[in-house]
Amino acid sequence: MTTSRHPVRGFFAGLFLGVGAALLLFVFGVLPFTLVMLGIITVIGIVVGIVLAFVAPVRSSDPVT
């Protein structure tokens, strides 16, 4: 049995989520808009996305002959 995981997809999921979360935090004045802060939140998002890809539960099993 082989498990098909998607770290690259998780990377981009985290990238977009991180950038989106950062911009929303900036626009509501929760954090100051700095490139450093944008970078930190984006990197955190990327790490979370990659980790998600590796710990995601296996959803289905398709037999292949």
Partner: protein, 197 residues
């Protein structure tokens, strides 16, 4: 850790390393000079004031500006600075730089800036966005640095940053769900398994 993961981690560190030098001060501050500013709205009403060093322009209470209005300023340097260069940065990025001769050897400067001519930050300066800014004057006789935070007027939902953030978060959420539900186990049934011996 496999090769893909290692490359992604290295890419993340590289991005952070590139962005790290763009750090900004955490509070309004001035060295080598003092600066007092007062902003007015597009319809000419007083909006906000700040002094560096002093009150206003901090991260907690950023100096509010209306990009349709004006900012009046009064600045004084501790020493006579001639033949210098001034640089204005926002978000850690240089937005304006020019030279100053100061042939009259003045230590004070007073004037007004019409912000309608400074539109490069317009998409960012709305809602509650707090942007770090820094001004530096360096020349013969000394130097002067002023830093603080500015914010715009209007609601957060009127800002393009809000919609950009919402769109990015929605795409990220979609990709995250795809990642989550796309993880599959595949049973490879060998043709020899269970076959005739």
């Amino acid at each position: 850790m496999n090769r893909t993961l290692r490359h992604l981690a290295l890419a993340s560190v590289a991005v952070l390393a590139v962005l790290a030098p763009a750090s900004a001060a955490s509070a309004a501050d001035a060295s080598g000079c003092t600066l007092t500013v007062a902003s007015t709205s597009a319809d000419g009403k007083p909006l906000d004031t700040a002094s560096a060093p002093g009150d206003g322009g901090t991260e907690a209470h950023p100096f509010q500006v209306d990009l349709g209005g004006k900012v009046a300023y009064v600045g004084k340097t501790d020493a006579v600075i001639t033949d210098g260069t001034y640089t204005v940065t926002a978000l850690g990025v240089t937005v304006k730089t020019d030279t100053v001769t100061n042939a009259d050897k003045k230590q004070t400067a007073k004037g007004e800036v019409d912000l309608s001519t400074v539109q490069s930050l317009k998409p960012l300066l709305s809602g509650g966005v707090k942007i770090p800014v820094q001004g530096t004057l360096t020349g013969t006789g000394g130097s002067c640095t002023v830093s603080g935070y500015i914010t715009g007027v209007g609601s957060a939902t009127s800002s393009p940053v809000f919609y950009a953030g919402l769109a990015a978060a929605a795409i990220g959420l979609g990709l995250a769900l795809w990642t989550l539900f796309g993880t599959k186990a595949t049973v490879v049934a060998s043709s020899a398994a269970g076959g005739a011996s």
